[in-house]
């Protein structure tokens, strides 16, 4: 009889252990995983120990088993407290908790961003952003400007709106991209600059530098006339800057936060001449690193202007707030609706609704389901008719091609469109 009871206890323990492991693999953030692993894991191990002691029935076994059990129960709370504290301080993300719901805010010192991201930024020599809180409308003291009232003295436009537009004239898609940038510049009445950055660093990596440079210059000269024609058509004067050097440095680190940078989604720097380099990959990863180096907003634009919905990956950070503001004020897209994906607390929800109501854009909130964004930043079921995406940061790691996935596939599988990022 006692054998049967012991067996049942062991089985219950086993179930707890398996569930704990499942939780460890499936839960979304560090603290949820810790919750599964420490509580259920300890209970499971303890029950298996008790079952074994019952089976054995000797004094020796009971003694060692009880000691192990006692020690487990005494130490697990302390150990997991220390680990949870360290994880919180290292800036691990809190899934499902909005920026206003963090009960520990101000109690413990907490890193601005996850430790792993800081390490990656250090490797790329990128400035870590200072601590920023989402701006409340009353704090800024702004009324939302619409139409003619846009140029008010303390309007949001003055605070965040760009004063200049710069775009990268690179690759064969450049004329189409120039049209996008010119359209936007004309609508917002901003001066437009085109930068033709000839990447000598890329040329140096090829076997014949002079030949590659000649190919790239030829490529540029084929579409340069189109750019001039566009300048005449759109009635926006285009300042053309031609420079040779490190393309990454030429595009970033020149403008300030008032400069709106328009970049292509692919085809960076090699101007699509397709000469092989000695590097294992000639994927233009520096294209994605510009976001972190340019202080102003950056838009990765596809060739066609489209009207449709705009999706936001909301994490409550300052970056995503000003991205939303910029999209609403400047009418970057012909926006039919705004879809906000993420855990949005009540305060932020009302704030977003009021901002959208002022420019007559309907807004929908989509709450994440467990585990649906493991592979991509946004779930594919909300991407129907989405032309633009506002992100707090680009999907990490910053590689254009990551094991065969184009970087936009990591935003949403199979999706192509405009991406607005402002870090």
């Amino acid at each position: 009889m006692i054998d049967l009871i012991a067996l049942v206890i062991k089985m219950v323990g086993l179930v707890f252990l398996v569930l704990a492991t499942l939780g460890l693999l499936r839960f979304e953030d560090v603290f949820q995983r810790m919750h599964a692993a420490t509580k259920a894991g300890t209970l499971g191990a303890g029950l298996v120990l008790i079952g074994t002691m019952l089976n054995k029935g000797t004094f020796d076994a009971a003694m060692t088993g009880t000691l192990a059990l006692l020690f487990l129960i005494l130490t697990i709370p302390v150990a997991s407290h220390i680990l949870a504290r360290a994880a919180y301080m290292s800036g691990s993300q809190l899934a499902g908790i909005g920026p206003h719901d963090d009960a520990l805010a101000g109690t413990l010192r907490r890193a601005v961003q996850p430790l792993e991201r800081s390490i990656e930024d250090l490797a790329f020599d990128v400035a870590t952003p200072p601590v920023q809180m989402p701006p409340a409308a009353e704090e800024l003291g702004v009324a939302y400007p619409t139409g003619a009232a846009r140029s008010g003295p303390r309007s949001l436009k003055d605070m965040i709106a760009p004063e200049r537009v710069r775009f990268a004239a690179l690759g064969a898609g450049a004329p189409k991209l120039a049209k996008r940038a010119a359209d936007f510049a004309a609508r917002a009445e901003l001066p437009l600059t085109a930068v033709v950055a000839l990447d000598t660093r890329y040329a140096e990596q090829t076997s014949n530098k002079a030949e590659t440079l000649r190919l790239m210059r030829d490529q540029i000269s084929t579409w340069l006339p189109n750019l001039n024609k566009l300048s005449e058509e759109s009635k926006v004067p285009i300042d053309l800057i031609y420079k040779e050097g490190d393309a990454e440095a030429l595009m970033a680190g020149v403008g300030d936060h008032k400069e709106f940078l328009v970049l292509p989604t692919k085809g960076w720097a090699d101007h699509e001449v397709g000469v092989k380099t000695t590097l294992a990959t000639r994927e233009p990863d520096s294209l994605l690193r510009i976001v972190a180096k340019h202080p102003g907003p950056v838009m990765y634009a596809v060739d066609e202007t489209m009207a449709g919905a705009v999706a936001v990956q909301f994490d409550g950070s300052f970056n995503v707030w000003r991205g939303i503001d910029l999209a609403l004020v400047e009418e970057l897209w012909d926006m039919s609706e705004l879809r906000v994906y993420g855990y949005v607390d009540q305060e932020s929800r009302e704030e977003i609704e009021s901002r959208c109501a002022m420019v007559n854009v309907p807004v929908h909130f989509i709450t994440p389901k467990a585990g649906e964004t493991k592979q991509s930043a946004l779930p594919s079921h909300m991407m129907d008719g989405v032309v633009g995406v506002i992100l707090p940061d680009l999907p990490r790691p910053l590689h254009v091609d990551w094991y065969g996935l184009f970087w936009q596939d990591r935003i949403a599988q199979g999706w192509r469109g405009d991406v607005l990022v402002w870090t």
């Binding site: 492991t21 460890l24 560090v30 298996v48 054995k56 060692t64 997991s80 680990l83 930024d121 250090l122």
Partner: protein
Amino acid sequence: MSIEAITAFIDPIITLMIIIVVGALVAASIKVISGPSYADRFIAVDMLTGLAIAVCALTALSSGRDEFLDVAFGFALIAFLATVAFGAFLERKVEVVARRVEEAAAKRSALKGEEA
């Protein structure tokens, strides 16, 4: 089915249980490797010791040797030390990275000053 008939099956059942726990061990080890963050790995290591204790207890039954319970006790001791050490390491790592970020920022602003 009488109790005796069921007790005859206990040994294979325990072997089966060990196999299941080892499967969980493999899954937790995958989490140790895949991470993605430091804290995730440490939690997975914590989970590994819990599973190892269960394996030890079950092995003590199936092999009939009490020494495996001593091994389980040892694991319980090590788990605590390891987790505390990991926690301390993580807190120190945060400080070191914060200092390096500050240094990088200082270097960057110094470079900007030179340009201007």
